[in-house]
Symmetry: C2
Subunit: 209 residues, 2 copies
Amino acid sequence: MKISELVETSGVPLPTVKYYLREGLLPPGRSTGRTRAEYGDEHVHRLAVIRALIEVVGLSVQQVRTILALIETAPRSPAELFDVLGRAVGTLTDASQPAPAEDYPRARAALERLGQLYDPRYAAVAQLERALAAAEAAGVPATPERIDVYGAAMRQVAQFDLEEIPEEPAAAVEYAVVGTAVHGPVLAALRRLAHQDLAAQRLGITGAE
Amino acid sequence: MKISELVETSGVPLPTVKYYLREGLLPPGRSTGRTRAEYGDEHVHRLAVIRALIEVVGLSVQQVRTILALIETAPRSPAELFDVLGRAVGTLTDASQPAPAEDYPRARAALERLGQLYDPRYAAVAQLERALAAAEAAGVPATPERIDVYGAAMRQVAQFDLEEIPEEPAAAVEYAVVGTAVHGPVLAALRRLAHQDLAAQRLGITGAE
């Protein structure tokens, strides 16, 4: 398809498509003349991924570039795939985080409690430590009982997420990043709606089931 | 305690404490002289709540003001408490959201599937609709099976959250807002760590349990 059709199909405005081409987020089309190029379904798909990461997840162009580069590495072993998956999802972590620490005592205690691997090199370990410290500072610390309930619930969620992961490594990396990011807000909204549903029941609000 | 002790105990710098006093986020101390005032534990607590909401949750001063005002309304009936809880937690929703719609078809379908109350006036319904639309746009739509798994997991989480809610209405509002906000990142981090733990198992990465 021509670039004008790519604009129409994807819904991404022409100046934005040109910007992504210049920034290397979108690979160039197949050249069909001095100023013409042919684009394919892979460009439509790539645009959807870029838009999702920038507009929905709120990542910067630089973060998206990092993730797309990781999607394009072709991991050749399970260990390499695991590493690439971890680094790709790690890009989602807030860039304003402090420098990595040697040890994360709150996260370690929580993970030991859940019988899960504790590896301080994981970006998500630092993320958990910060979240637990913040809850503590706010006066609603995550008690061991809360860790048990939350850990079990998130394990069910993660189990489902992993069942759906594509076999092909590049598709797996894309799914891991995009899925982790876009399904997070679905979970957050469902938690709030469950609160309201249960609170309505408990307070005997009319109209609630 | 004097303001200097409040600064020391809370760890909030003096100019910030003065700013919160001017902005009305922190109630004035009990006057003990022309330029002196006495502060109590309630000020230390309030500062912890403000810091958590601004620095941890990332709310604006205006959003915090709205929440603190709601904490200070004293709901006199369960229906009023339910309404105040909903409005307080609704403050957490991204302010850049579009105007409320009449109907949210994706959220409605998901909630009907889960057997939960659908009320388009809830801020979390619009939040769910946006999250589902975003997942769709990103090419990883939340399938009915995903909604089932996520919905059940979030119901367990919400059940625990509600068990812990204080009886006293003002404390309940504060717990609902602060707890919803600060425990969200704990859940997000636990989801990612469960992914890594399960992926390590599945890919047979050494060191994983």
